[in-house]
């Protein structure tokens, strides 16, 4: 029996894998010590759990266990990476390069450093959501201390050419940071091979718990340091103070281990389901896939259904938990800035749905989702005056719409 609604919003967060919960349980009960307590077994046991998690994490992203700085999540990691570099390398320069389709945790942090005298270049993206390497090259200056470009986009799944970006950054003596929130645990991310100096990621996008994330900070070639944004006991090699969230960290470690062991199988299964969902839904007329189909995370698709309004569509697909490109929180609609950056018109951005699949998504759920979305889009189009005009061959751009 299919349970409704079906959760297909796994780019927002994933459910906790029961095996992760199992690993965490002892640390929520008996093993409650403070990992920084060096003089009794309670502390040692906690520290052991944390150290083991560092190993598990470092194996997933191919780094040294000492290069992991634990934080409260990807937002904090993004903040620490960008602000930390901006402060630490202020003698060298004040210029940061990022892209318009980054997560708000990066964009708003960049806005913040602009207020502190930093200079930020926001690179545009093409219709696939990819930055241009020529644009990046042209934006580099002797004052550029950091290039921060996300690995995979949260709305479209588009994967940036990370290795090429890292090469350009390094050729100009800048550090390369990436927001790996959506990519780590989903696709192979190798900080050494990719040339990543700093990387933010989080547990709850890969079947781990909420409230725990990490910042990878390279220790060799070059040795990177970030100025702490949280002052206190000097935890995490002085870069992030605060008592460690031991159960969360153990959960992140276990989630990384599972991701490493099951990635190939998960990717094969999820991309097959995603492709089937996408193929079926794009049999609807006037439906468009947003972002790059070639360079994309395996579990995501973002589709616009023209002549159907986003919020009405969300209401029509009430049996699915999905995200829409329309952030209609007030009388004024705000279409997704990511989709707008890809060049989508407001109405197409509004009419988009993002599907994010997970390890726990089943074929039966995808079958239901296909039927449910098709039915909702068809019903809303029958009700849509724009669809009728389109069918009659009316050019909607030629109509003088009454603003209200």
């Amino acid at each position: 029996m299919l349970k409704l609604p079906i959760y297909l919003d796994n780019n927002a967060t994933t459910p906790l894998d029961p095996r992760v919960l199992e690993a965490m349980m002892p640390y929520l009960t008996d093993v409650f010590g403070n990992a920084a307590s060096r003089n009794h077994p309670f502390g040692w046991a906690a520290e052991e759990g944390v150290d083991y998690a560092r190993e598990q994490i470092s194996k997933l992203i191919n780094c040294d266990a000492k290069e992991i700085i634990f934080t409260s999540g990807a937002t904090e990691s993004d903040n620490l990476g960008i602000k930390g570099v901006f402060e630490m390398y202020s003698q060298k320069g004040n210029h940061v390069i990022t892209a318009t389709t980054e997560h708000k945790a990066v964009l708003d942090t960049c806005k913040h450093i602009e207020k502190l005298g930093g200079r930020v270049t926001y690179l545009p993206v093409d219709e696939k959501g990819l930055i241009s390497l020529a644009d990046l090259e042209a934006a580099m200056t002797p004052q550029t201390i950091l290039v921060t470009i996300m690995y995979g986009n949260n709305e479209t799944g588009t994967i940036q050419p990370i290795r090429e970006i890292a090469k350009i950054a390094h050729a100009h003596g800048a550090l390369f940071m990436t927001d790996g929130t959506q990519a780590v645990g989903k696709i192979p991310v190798d900080v050494l091979a990719d040339g990543i100096d700093i990387m933010a990621f989080t547990a709850h996008k890969m079947y781990g718990p909420k409230g725990v994330g990490a910042l990878y900070v390279r220790r060799k070639n070059p040795r990177v340091k970030v100025t702490a944004q949280m002052d206190g006991g000097g935890h995490e090699r002085g870069m992030r103070s605060g008592t460690l969230n031991v159960p969360g960290i153990v959960g992140l470690g276990k989630a990384c281990e599972l991701a490493r062991l099951e990635m190939d199988a998960d990717t094969a299964r999820l991309s097959a389901m995603r492709d089937r969902l996408e193929k079926e839904l794009t049999t609807l007329e006037e439906s468009y896939i947003n972002g790059s189909v070639e360079h994309r995370l395996p579990h995501v698709t973002n589709i616009s259904f023209k002549y159907v309004e986003g919020e009405g569509l969300m209401m029509g697909v009430k049996d699915l938990a999905v995200s829409s490109g329309s952030a209609c929180t007030s009388a004024s609609l705000e279409p997704s800035y990511v989709l707008k950056a890809l060049g989508l018109s407001d109405d197409l951005a509004h009419s988009s749905l993002r599907f994010g699949l997970s390890r726990f998504t089943t074929d039966e759920q995808i079958d239901y989702a296909i039927g449910h979305v098709k039915e909702a889009v068809t019903k809303l189009r029958e009700m849509s005056p724009l669809w009728e005009m389109f069918k009659e061959g009316v050019d909607l751009s030629k109509i003088e719409w009454a603003e209200h």
Binding site: E309, G312, A331, L386, H404
Partner: protein, 136 residues
Amino acid sequence: MAYSDKVIDHYSNPRNVGTLDKSKKNVGTGLVGAPECGDVMRLQIEVDEATNTITDAKFKTFGCGSAIASSSLATEWLKGKSIDEALAIDNMEIVEELALPPVKIHCSVLAEDAIKSAISDYRVKNGLPALELSHH
């Protein structure tokens, strides 16, 4: 956002979706809103010229659940009303009936505009001056 039961009912079972023959002299058509604003309503009325009574009303709406419900409700209310009674429909009556939250009041405003715009179109077709449409 939580929708009221009445909005959900109109959204799930919209009344009077469809198209009237706009070439007929006794059919008035109102098309209001704009695609980039997220709502477009088309509301049509068919008038019995002898009695000045609205005998049929149809709508098609591109918009959120509240916009669809507002126009669906409007068509229900219009049927059987005289033109003057229809002109007296105030958007706040729609707000009350559907229990629309403040951020959705613009949907009711659009429905009222659509009613007035359809009546105005009917008037013009029948040699009467257009209505002064007050834009909210």
